[in-house]
Symmetry: C2
Subunit: 419 residues, 2 copies
């Protein structure tokens, strides 16, 4: 009975379709995988306890799948709050790019990626999708801190940290994929082409072909700002999404990040191609990119996850806060209090985020056979009391600081100091 | 030297106009009042320590004025998360009004107002402006918990808890003011007329006259929803603000709450009359009321504070979260990353909020002569590191759970368990 963990005495939200809230539930994890979950089964729980299982008392809190941060740049925590409240060009050209040229190196990437992973784990995030340069060092931090991750090597047609000659950017990404295979079962490589306006048509196609060859996720920032179509040299007539589609790079293994400036036709293309989208509401707000038409994407059946974006544009990596913002922002701009209800936002932050990253069979919900990526959220805080509904409590009142326990693959990676 | 408190070893943000960040500052509070503040003065600090002052080590965190929550309904924490994501009429008529009729009584008002006060204190809020029915019981909770407050007795032309016959609503408010004078120096009475659509012209004028006679603040929800002008029986042609102005009730002692649907003329009226406004971004978003033109109000020189609104429509009382939302929301809808910079949002949450409530000489900034309403915010959390700028850190990354110490009138009302 070694390697058994039982989490009990909590409100169980499995986030599996059709499974209701289980007021007094438990989860049994064996050798990193969920083997049993459901309403409290005292005979089974007592038997496991007697046979030496590690018993985690949720103390009446919420037992749920770990959160998924669908988009971040983990090493950029080094630039948290470096410059804010500035026009995009000033922010990028006078602050972020010079700071990157000065401060980004293998040591800083590993150090601050590890910092971000610990920040995310402490806030209940068990899976993240990352993209940056020198990504092999970020991937090492992910392996070491214990988070589950998709690690994307950045590809851009400019000299970048680790790739001084952009002609080598695709070869570099290929070498990255080969290097980090085998690093950890939890860390999957990916190709992250920065954007349609910083990568040429040739680079985008080569990046996607590499991802296809290697069977990995292809990520790209797309339709983030209103100005983006005009910034793409090779595209004069099409929307950003139509342009990407014309290159043949949209498919279920392509992840589109931001998607703020979409029209109905764009949403239709994305739906037909089966791409998933990551919505980063706080980054889009802080950088004044705009408000993505997420309720329309959801109505069209797209898989939409939530992301924090990097710390230079957010300035934290807190999915509780993103859920609350996503739930409220779209209500305000549409003058409709019914859009983006609490459960929809919680799905985006868990199972839909996992599906978006190609990890829907691995994580994002609690069901036998999935990884033991589980968190416990305290519900006894003054700001959480009374709690008439756990979905509402999690989306509209809970904070990252309410997370009590975090495990990935059944291994405890964070535990709050309880007084 | 009794009754001396010294807060030292922290970054001091006084929020006084023109005073820069003091990297290593201290504040000396004597008998509840600030007597000295500025850069670390080791001789003075050591001398105070030797003579028995209570020494509070800020541990390198931020020492700043307590936050001001400019609008809440403290007893409504009993309805936190009771119903969400619903159309306004369904939410009010099928959930909130029946729950109020069933559950609101002197005991529940006192109990949940106290709960809200403790929630606010723990989140660094040292002053709140409240409005509800049976407000004498809420005021008692404010006096007992130690928060500074403006307590507004609700006035509405319908039967309400404690005022079964609305004909007696003004007399009831008068009796309330007389009753709570003397309860505590920290708790000031106020008249809270619910709105222009739930109070007749006569009630509004009588409410304002009562407030004038007694020298207290007059509060009113105004221009919250797009539908509001059409809901005012006695007004067919004017904007809500013009209507209130036509009744002669706008002056510097009138506090306008929400002000989502204002045009330029309305802002001009408010500026000329010298009213202050409380912006409740998260409530306006969650209830789909819309986005208030706050950057225009600020440009026009209006005094604008921040409020959480009650827990039924937010669902917490967290001014850190409101600051972050205010900073980001207006950038997104105006596509301008320069509006609502971090310092502006922090001013709204402190000194401007205090001015809005008529307490600008008492609280909201750190300066000799003002009350010892001071908080210390931890800056060592992973989500706060590195901190390139304290204003940015507080607005874009800090959480209510980062508050370490809270004092009101020099009395410690909250202290985080430090491990």
């Amino acid at each position: 009975m070694e390697h058994n963990i039982v989490i009990y005495n909590g409100i169980l939200l499995t986030m599996e379709e059709g499974v209701p809230v289980i007021e007094d539930g438990f989860v049994h994890v064996r050798q990193g995988k969920i083997v049993h979950c459901g309403p409290n089964h005292s005979d089974l729980v007592e038997n496991l306890s007697r046979h030496g299982a590690r018993m985690i008392d949720a103390r009446g809190g919420i037992i749920m799948p770990g959160l998924v941060n669908g988009h971040t740049h983990t090493p950029m925590s080094m630039f948290r709050g470096l410059a804010d409240d500035l026009p995009l060009e000033v922010w990028l050209n006078e602050h972020i790019f010079p700071a990157e040229a000065r401060d980004v190196n293998p040591e800083s990437v590993e150090k601050w990626a590890a910092h971000s992973c610990r920040e995310m784990l402490a806030g209940g995030i068990t899976t993240c999708c990352d993209g940056y340069f020198l990504e092999e060092y970020a991937a090492k931090a992910m392996a070491d801190t214990g988070i589950r991750a998709v690690a994307g090597q950045g590809v851009i047609d400019f000299p970048a940290p680790g790739v001084s000659d952009p002609c080598g950017n695709i070869d570099h990404a290929k070498a990255f994929i080969e290097k980090i295979c085998g690093l950890s079962d939890r860390v999957r490589p990916s190709v992250f082409c920065h954007s349609p306006y910083t990568c040429s048509k040739q680079t985008l196609v080569a990046g996607k072909n590499l991802a296809r060859d290697k069977g990995v996720l292809f990520q790209i920032h797309a339709a983030e700002t209103r100005a983006e179509p005009g910034m793409i040299k090779e595209n004069k007539n099409m929307s950003v999404i139509a342009y990407l589609d014309s290159l043949g790079i949209l498919d279920p293994d392509t992840l589109l990040i931001h998607c703020v400036w979409l029209d109905e036709k764009d949403i239709d293309i994305i739906a037909r191609r089966g791409c998933a989208v990551i919505h980063c509401p706080e980054s889009n707000m802080k950088l004044a990119s705009g408000v993505a038409p997420v309720p329309d994407m959801v109505s069209a059946g797209l898989t939409v996850g939530l992301g924090t974006d990097g710390c230079a544009s957010n300035n934290d990596q807190d999915i509780f806060s993103e859920m609350g913002t996503a739930a409220k922002l779209h209500k305000a701009v549409r003058l409709d209090p019914c859009v983006m209800d609490a459960r929809t936002c919680l799905k985006m932050a868990t199972i839909d985020g996992a599906k978006a990253l190609g990890l829907g069979d691995v994580t994002g919900s609690i069901r036998p056979g999935k990884a033991g990526d589980i968190i416990v959220v305290d519900t006894t805080g003054l700001h959480m009391t009374p709690m008439h509904d756990p979905y509402s409590g999690l989306v509209y009142a809970a904070r990252a600081s309410d997370v009590l326990w975090v495990m990935v693959d059944g291994k405890v990676r964070f535990r709050k100091n309880l007084s």
